[in-house]
Amino acid sequence: MAVEISGLKRGFGKVEVLKGLDMSVDSGSIYGLLGPSGCGKTTLLKVMLGFLTPEDGTVKVPKGIPGSTVGYAPQELALYLDLTISETLLFHGRLHEMSIEDIKDKKSWLMNFLDLPDENRQIGKLSGGEKRRVSLAIALLHNPSLLLLDEPTVGVDPELRARIWGHMKEITSQGTTIIITTHYIDEAGKADRVGLMRNGKLLAEDSPSALMSKHDTKSLEEVFLKLCRREVKVAE
């Protein structure tokens, strides 16, 4: 198990965000965290990164986080707009103490794989989708064993999104663990395991096929809908 969380509670001031969340992520798998905006996905990732301390519950993550064990692509693009693509990758590679050769090799691979424009283009002048791909490139650059990707495919075209998923499948087969948040239901369906998140809790987590057969539906969307309705009823 790469990540194991039980009974996690965390809020900001009087606002409760995570309300007793349980989650387990297998090593070498893709975990799709699916839920609407504001359900606490980003807060959960920040707890895993060690930025937010839990108020209650236990959180087990691999050793070396924060550090080079983890590759993190935040939801806000978090890029230095005045740097070029090349300088950005060089900077992050140096933070992880990669050798210049390694950085260059990985850079040319990433530029090609993510279909990035000229490496001397300034980040501030890129389109939203291009910026998001640079953000993803930074997370992949140092071959981390855990990837935390917060909505990495927003605004990325379908062909490239498929390629990114193909690459993610490939690196998980080599042992990398990936946790990806998304609000695209069809995208979450490609994950090995999906956590359906709502109001600071996981309503369910399992493989997409297991979830659909358990709830006797043909799509994850219907599973989500059923679980939401059930939760609303319980609340009433």
Binding site: L49, Y72, P74, F91, R94, L95
Partner: protein, 344 residues
């Protein structure tokens, strides 16, 4: 602490600074403009002062040569006083039976003192038998100018102020746009962020300090009796300490506006309580205690001692200034690193 990460952060910050042309111009030009304005506007003796003389005396011929006064002679004291009353002249010098009577518009102390000083100098020149003589001064010039007192303080102020402003907004933006989170995720420590930023700004600091010292000594001909190297070293240390304070502000402020709000209330006490504009000996007891703990007070006194008195590092005032400014910088740097929390 990881030196490679610090180097990476410094290099990245430096290319950002270099590329931001407006910011770069601000950084280079502002201290120069500031010290030029101070030098031209403050401290020099006022000139072209209208003064009316009534009556005859040897000093009046002497005063005709004054570079500060414009003399006009009149017959009637009452009419002359009327002109002062209307603001058309600053003073009447009335000679009555060999006695010199001065009628002042005393609304401007600096002007009044300049005129008094000129009259006294003229009197000494015409009646050298006065029972008082000034020997060569121990420090400074025989006729010290206010700017000689002021200039070292203004140099301290400019070095301090622009270094604080330089770094006060250093990573307000970076915290809000998530780039700082990315650094922390990579395992970077807050102190590494701080030292990286300091290193990037250090080159600029060297430029700023050089410009300030060059203008003061080269253009305004402020005397430098002591060591230029020592002066430069203290100015750099002061600028460095001020940058640390700026970083502390930056780590506390949630927006750039808030960073400015935090900067202003720091700069005013520095200006007013550090003996920059006026001797600290004139402060009331309570404020004088505050003055004693400001690093700028020590720096200003040490600047003056190096420049006017020619003192070296062995002088108490000078080495203490280095230590106090150094402690202040280190403490604010650690405080800044502490308040830039990874965890919350």
């Amino acid at each position: 602490m990881n030196f490679n990460r610090i180097k990476a952060i410094a290099a990245r910050k430096f290319s950002s600074i270099r590329r931001d042309h407006r910011m770069f111009a601000f950084i280079v030009m502002m201290p120069a403009i500031q010290i030029l304005l101070f030098g031209f506007a403050i401290g020099a003796s006022p000139t072209g002062l209208e003064v009316i003389t009534v009556g005859e005396h040897a000093i009046i011929d002497e005063l005709e040569d004054s570079e500060y006064l414009e003399l006009t002679s009149m017959e009637n004291v009452e009419e002359a006083r009327d002109l002062v009353e209307k603001g058309e002249a600053w003073a009447v010098i009335e000679i009555e039976n060999g006695t010199i009577i001065l009628h002042f518009d005393a609304s401007n102390q600096q002007v009044m003192q300049t005129i008094s000083q000129e009259v006294r100098t003229a009197l000494e020149a015409t009646a050298p038998s006065l029972p008082i003589t000034q020997a060569d001064p121990v420090h400074g010039q025989a006729e010290p100018e206010f700017i000689d007192f002021l200039a070292p303080g203004i140099m301290v102020l400019v070095c301090f102020m622009f270094s604080v402003i330089l770094t006060a907004m250093a990573f307000v933006g970076e915290r809000n746009d998530g780039t700082l989170d990315r650094l922390f995720a990579a395992g970077v420590q807050p102190l590494e962020v701080m030292i990286g930023h300091l290193s990037a700004f250090s080159l600029i600091l060297v430029g700023q300090v050089s410009v300030v010292i060059a203008i003061a000594i080269g253009l305004f001909e402020i005397p430098l009796e002591g060591s230029l190297v020592l002066l430069f070293a203290l100015a750099l240390l002061l600028g460095w300490a001020a940058m640390c304070l700026g970083l502390l502000i930056s780590s506390k402020a949630k927006s750039e506006f808030q960073a400015m709000q935090l900067t202003m209330p720091i700069l005013f006490p520095v200006l007013l309580l550090s003996g920059i504009l006026w001797p600290v000996e004139a402060l009331p007891a309570g404020l004088s205690h505050i003055s004693q703990v400001l690093p700028t007070t020590w720096a200003a006194e040490a600047f003056r001692s190096i420049m006017m008195r020619g003192w070296g590092i062995e002088a108490d005032i000078v080495w203490k200034a280095f230590i106090i400014v150094g402690i202040f910088g280190t403490a604010t740097l650690l405080g800044a690193a502490k308040s830039l929390k990874i965890k919350s």
